[in-house]
Structure formats: C-alpha cells, structure tokens
Symmetry: C2
Subunit: 500 residues, 2 copies
C-alpha cells in the first residue's frame, strides 16, 4: 500500500524520465539543425525515432496511468501538484487514445509527404504532392476521431497546441479580426510606402549579430543560461530554464530579416528562462500553449522591437554599428521603415497587419479539408481564390501559393492558428502591461526592459503549463480572450505611421 507522499513521488519520478527523454531528443534536434555534419542524418533519424518512441512508451505505460491515478488521490497534493496532475492527465489521455499503428502510419506519411512536397515545389506541379496530402488529411481525420471530439474534429487537432480552446471560439475570433483589418490593410496599401533602410551588405554580418545581441541582452536574456547560433531557419529550443538556445539567419540585403528573427526567438527563450525552476522535470515545466509561446516571441519582436520607443533606445548603437543600414535616420524614420506594409503573398515575409490573413486563409482551408468539403485536388484553386479575397492578389506560382508552407506536408493540421493567436495574445499582454506600467514607453526608450520582463515573468512565464491560454487571459486581464486590444494596437500604430 503506497502512502500519498510516495504516490506523488512515484508520479514525478516517472515524469522526470519522460521529461529527460524529451529534452534529450530536443538536444539532438538542435544539433541536427545547427552543427551536425550532413553525413549524420540517417543515424540521427534512428536515434530520434528511438527517443521519441521511448518517450511515448513512458507516457502511455500502465505504470504512468496508475501513478497519475494514485497521485490524484493523494491528499497531500498541493495546488501545484494538482495543476501538474491536470496537465499530466490531459497528455496521458490523449496519448493512450492514439493507436500505435496510427502514429507509425502518420510518421511514414509525413516523411513521404515532405519529399513529395519538395518534388512538387521543384517541378511546380501540385499533382506530385496531392496523393500524399490526401493521405495526410485522411490520417489527420483518423487522428482527430481517435482523440475524440464533440462533432468538430478540428477541436481535437487544435488541442495538440491550444489546450481547451475550441475551434468555434478561435474561428469566430479570427474572422472578427479579419473583417476589421480588411479595410485597414486595403487602405494602407494605397498609401505611399515609407523609405526603406539601407543594405547591410556581406561586410555587415558581425555587426548584425552584435546589434541583435545588444538588443537581446537589454531585454534580459541570460547568456549564462543560453546561446545563439546560426541556422538555415531561425528557431528556439530549451532543455531547461538554464539552457535555452536560439538561432538566427542573416540577410545581406535586409537587416530586418535577421534582427527581428533574433528578437522573435529571444522572446521564446525569455519565456523558457522564466518558467519556475520548481517545475523542472515536471508537467508544469512546459509552456501554457503554442500560442502563448508565440505571444512571447511576437511581443518582443513586434510590440517592443517594432515600436518607436525601442528605436529611440537602440538607434545610437545601431547607427554606430551598422552605418550602412541606418545612416543618419532618426527613430521615427526607422520606426516607419520596419513597419512598412508589404504586398507579399508569402506568410513568413508578411507585415503585422497582413499576417493575420495568411492564417485565416489556412484555417478556412484546413477546416474544409478536414470536414471533407474540399477535395485535395481542388485545394490550389481554393487557395488562389482565398488569396484574392483576403490578400488582394492571386499567387503567381505554387511557391507563393499553396506549396509555400512545410506544415501540411508533415501532416501538421491545427498548428497555424497558434501563430495568429500569438499576435492577439501579445497585444493583450502588452495592453495589460501598459496598465500596470503607465510609463512603459519611457522605460523602453531608456532601455529599461526589466519592468516589462518582470511583468511577464510574474503573470505568464513562471506559471509554465499551470494555466490554459484562456485561464491566463482571465487572470491577467479579468476578461475573456478577445480581439479588441489587438485591433486597437494595430489601428493606433498604423494610423500614426501612415497618417490615416
């Protein structure tokens, strides 16, 4: 007969192994993207598959199920224990519902899908990808049904990223934002574009890194607990609050590409550095959700990094370090330049106003595919129509159209909403921070970011997975998740920037 204490200890012990396996896999993935020699790929794939399989076995083992149940019954459980057990129960239930055969089949289809996607991009022929995509959609539907839902299969997929957030809520929120932003974007695109910044050139590489490092250090990134490297696509990862890694990619043409990627990834890393150490190797060590994670990156990238006060702070250093980019521009001119609206149809190049439409487009199509309302063969046409409607233009080819993103090729349906949710949440946090810190702009202009970071630490970071996204919003604002702060921030910013 186990005592309550030993039931909790046993649960945390089993979870600690799971956590270590996951973090080990993440170290291997980081290495794969940053330093691994090309020859290492096939052995690395085996090593990762084994770690992921062992983690899945650890999570779904009968021992874990019994340990969670026994710990749930423990009368000595604290509030934090109970929060951890809620997260563990949620993860466990989802994992045990997925048949092993389906997981294997999805992995196989994802691998085939990725190669077919590459081939289709190369050949400019969607038909090379279509059969794989059809299979991936069917498997996503099977996955949703296996996970269980109340008639809306997308709910089950969304829950991979956003716990306890319904498709209905997200969809309505996104469409509300789209309706409000459509005329604003249209109007802004008709205005003359602000003059761009200068080219950094190949000789500006070190200076670009230095400026990014300067900004991230000012934000409060702890370098003894993290590092930055370069990779083909910028990303961030964390193996503990004391080991967070970010990467960046530099462009010789456009300073903004590498710089804002650095701010973006540092936002993710600041979140990870702020999660309470007491949750390490426990369920609460994770983020609240993908969207909340994204809200931290977007907050530092857009709400801070693309603000005028930020450029008042950084400009003296920027002009010194990168004269080719900044010349004798003032903060207002830089502020305007880094917020230029862009008519691009490529999501990853989109500006703050346009970004949302890229997600609405994908969400509509994902829902139609998953519901069986849109045959895969009709997807390119549907994409192009939605592009005209939402972004004002038909893609010239598949690369700025339906084949631009890698996600679907890996069977990742339900992921895109988190990006837009991140923008909406970032504005919510920033509005709340402004209420708590009325002189926030002055602080930012003075390079004093710790009051803002402390606010995020106290209200969001430290809690890890304790609260769901909706709970976090209610705790921080006292209200439900809503679009108003996001719309207000965009209207204010772009109204001033474009004088409209």
């Amino acid at each position: 007969m186990m005592t309550p204490q030993s039931a909790l200890a046993r649960f945390y012990d089993l979870w600690g192994t799971l956590s270590d396996l996951r973090h080990a896999a993440e170290v291997l993935e980081w290495d794969q993207l940053v330093f691994m020699p090309p020859g290492g790929a096939s052995a690395r794939a085996e090593q990762l598959a084994t770690l992921r399989r062992l983690a899945h076995e650890q999570l779904t083992s009968p021992a874990m199920g019994e340990a969670i149940a026994a710990a749930e019954a423990a009368v000595t459980a604290t509030e934090a224990d109970r929060a951890a057990l809620r997260v563990a129960r949620r993860e466990y239930e989802r994992a045990v519902r997925l048949p092993a055969a389906l997981v294997v089949e999805q992995a196989r289809a994802a691998s085939a899908g990725y190669h077919a996607w590459l081939a289709a991009r190369q050949a400019g022929d969607f038909r090379l990808f279509a059969p794989c995509l059809q299979r991936l959609v069917a498997l996503a539907r099977q996955r949703a049904d296996a996970l269980g839902h109340d008639g809306e299969p997308y709910d089950a997929l969304l829950a991979d990223h956003e716990p306890e957030l319904s498709t209905a809520v997200v969809h309505a929120l996104f469409e509300e934002v789209a309706a409000a932003l459509l005329p604003l974007r249209q109007h802004l695109l008709e205005q003359p574009a602000p003059p761009p910044l200068g080219r950094p050139g190949p000789e500006g590489e070190q200076a670009q890194l230095e400026l990014g490092r300067l900004a991230v250090t000012a934000f409060g990134f702890r370098w003894q607990d993290g590092r930055q490297d370069r990779s083909v696509h910028p990303f961030s990862t964390a193996f503990s609050p004391h080991d967070t890694r970010i990467t960046t990619r530099l462009s010789t043409e456009d300073f903004a590409e590498g710089f804002f990627a650095t701010l973006h990834e540092s936002g993710h890393a600041l979140y990870e550095q702020g999660i309470d150490e007491a949750w390490s190797r426990k369920p609460l060590e994770e983020a609240s959700s993908t969207g909340v994670h994204e809200s931290q990156s977007r907050l530092w990238e857009n709400q801070v990094g693309r603000s005028q006060p930020f450029w008042e702070f950084l400009l003296p250093a920027a002009r010194r370090v990168l004269p080719a980019v900044f010349g004798d521009r003032n903060a207002w001119e830089v502020y305007r330049a880094v917020n230029r609206l862009s008519p691009t149809l490529v999501r990853v190049e989109a500006d703050e106003v346009s970004y949302h439409f890229h997600i609405v487009l994908r969400l509509r199509l994902e829902l139609a595919l998953l519901h069986g309302d849109l045959p895969v063969d009709d997807l390119p046409g549907a994409w192009d129509e939605a592009s005209v409607q939402l972004l004002g233009r038909r893609p010239a080819d598949l690369l700025e159209g339906v084949l631009q993103d890698v996600h679907w090729s890996g069977g990742d349906f339900g992921y895109f909403p988190s990006y837009a949710l991140g923008n909406i949440l970032a504005a919510i946090w920033m509005a709340a921070a402004r209420q708590a810190l009325p002189d926030l702009d002055r602080l930012i202009a003075a390079g004093s970011f710790s009051p803002l970071l402390d606010f995020l630490r106290r209200n969001i970071h430290r809690w890890g997975a304790w609260y769901t996204p909706a709970e976090l919003v209610r705790r921080v604002t006292g209200e439900d998740l809503q679009a108003a702060p996001y719309l207000a921030a965009l209207r204010e910013k772009y109204g001033a920037l474009y004088g409209v």
Copy 2:
C-alpha cells in the same frame, strides 16, 4: 515459437535501442563539453543519468537476455552475427553481474571523489582526497569481485577496456618495455636538447587551426561525416561512422600542443569513420578496445605526425601558414623539435619515450591499491618513490605528482594501461603497414596517406568489435602481442634523432 530469423531480428532490434540510447548520451556529452552554456549543467546531469540508466536497463533486461540466447541458437546466424553475439554476450554478462546498488554507489562516490580531488588540488593537501579515494578503491574491488575473476581482481577491471587481455600479460609486457627503455631515456636526457620551434602567438590561432585541418584532410578525414570544434580538453566522439566529432585546444606558446592533439583526435575519428556501416546499431559497431582505439590516435599522432617524411610533406604549407613557428627550418629540424625529450613529470605533456613510464607507475600503484598492499594514506609517498625510480625525479608538488590525473577521482581503475597499450599496438600496426607498403615513407612524404589508411581500414577499422585486441594482432602480424616493434621503432627514431 520464434523462427531463427525472427530471433536474430528481435536481438538486433533490442540492441538498436541500446545503441541509440548510448549515442544520444554521447551527443549530450559532446554538447556539454563544447557548446552548452554553464547554466545547463544540472539539467544535463539529470538527462544523462536518465539516458545511462535506460541504456543499462535495456542491456540487462530479461528480454535482452532471452533475445541473445534465442539468437545464439539461430541456425541462420552468419559469422558476423556470431561475432556480434559474442560481443553482446560479453557485455550482457558483465552488466547483469553488477548489482544496481553498487552501480549507484560508484556513481555517487565518483561524484564526491571528483569534488574532493579538485579541493585537494586547490589546497595542495592529499588528505582532503584520501577518504574518498579509499572508498573508491573499496568499491572498485567490490566491482571486480562482482564481475568475477580467477584471483586477480584487476583482470575484471581491465576487461572494461581490453576484452580478454589478462593483467599478467599486460603487466609483464609493460615491465619489459620499461626495463628496455629506462637506459635509453636516461641516455637521451643527457644529450643536448634540439632547438624548439617558434611561438605561434595569439595572432596565429586561425593559422594553427588551418594547418591542423590541412593535415587531417590529407589523412583522409571525411568532413561531410565529421567536424572539429574547440574545447577545454581535446577529445573525440562518434555517433555513427558518418558523424564523428573531434575537438582541439590551442596554445599561443606551443604550436605542438594543439596540432598533435588534432592529429591524435583525428586518429580516433578515422577509426570510427572506418567501422563497417553494416554494423551500425549492432554490437560490432564499437571499437575492438580502448587500447586499439588509442593505437589509432597514437599512430597518426606519433608514427605519422612525428615522422620526418610527414614534415617533408607538410613543411611548405606550415612555413607559409605559420612563419612565426617554422621560420626557415627544414624537415629534419622540425622533426627533431617535435620529438624533443622532456623531463616533465606530467603524463599529458610526456614525450614518446617517457610516456610509457607514467603508465607503468600508475599500473603498479593501481595493483597495489586493489590488492590491499598499499594503504591509500601511503599513496603519495609511493607515487613519489616510483617517480624517482621511473622518471628520475621527485614531484615538486601534488599537481605534478599523485593528484595530476582525474581518473582515480572517478573510480576509473584499469583505464591507464590502454594508453600504453595504444603506443605498443600503434608500432605493431605501423611495422605491419611497412611490410605491406615498402615505400610508405615516400608515400607519406608525398602526402599520399590513403594507402596507409586503406591498410588500417582493411585490417582494423572495418571490423569494429569483431576481434579482440589480441586477435587483431594475430590476424595482422601472425604473431602474439609483443613489445619488439615498439622498442625497435623508438630505438631507431631516437637513435637517429639524437645521434646515439
């Protein structure tokens, strides 16, 4: 009822998971030593402990025991399968004999020992380390008894590194070499030292790296299957034949330090790159032994890198890249300089002739400790006496005496012999290569290393763990392990160098 085929498949399947866990741990260790931010240490320790524990559980599980036995009975097993099963059986038997409590206790004592060793070094007081060392010796003895032996407990520890090699054979061989080299060393130390090379200085860092890279590339290191980084202590590791990593450390004072470390580590990596891919994730993917591994590093470092033909090849590039070091010296002068005898008492700084005495000293003391003939409190005195006898001088302090090496602080008894064995084996391989390639010196002087590498590939590398060290020697030379080629090579080299 399993068919023979499925018994083998099941065995390889279980071993594949073990291999992946080990390689994953090695990736985490590499990262820890090369790129991990300092804050990451404590989470990394947990992650590594979990991976090592899971690997141990995988190896010692009843399923593994049954799979090995079933596979051994499989009539379809090939020669390679049988060799793999011999290795698996050996590892399995040793692992299951170790009580889990002893393994845990050893890990704990090693951790305490390491910190006590650091403290004792800092304070210059052996007594701070003595109680921990006493415990570590007692545990090593328990470990040897648990593993089993025929009255010589050191056999069991040696077998961690050198399968099927007895203490009696190693000890006799080492004492024979020591007796033969003692007068040679004494005589050489009385000769005037050759003039040293110049200082590379801080501005020569990139050039030092470039020269090392040039040499390693000429040896045949496949950069698409490996990389080089910098670390506090040079080391090498491999996650597959297509992912081998080496590190180096540079000195601004002494070019030889970083350069020969690079050659040394590249020798390890060339071995790993040459192990037959068909053994990947199977027992044969490992090296034959620690000593055989070391023989590859010593061969490229000393037999090749410290030869005159090698400097005939490299000198033009070396003089161009590092004029401060090489000036207008000719190959003979460089050859003499990089083979200077050194009176140092520190093992890792020892020259080729002196190195052996450092190991003999340690082997004698390890045997005395393990047999209970030498109380730990008497160890510093015994060390100093042996130092006088073997190296001609009493250590000035503990750092060039008994506290110089980290190994004992981690409970590593039985490891040192592999270093000296590596030297002896390297000379054996090189003598055999000279027989097969009579114009080897001319090839090396012409920068043509592939005939030598091919010889090593065919005779040693590709076999992985198929043959024990003694079997490899017999296959390559038709004779038993012996000291003659090593002594002959040293006498010839130093006779010519010092004109004695």
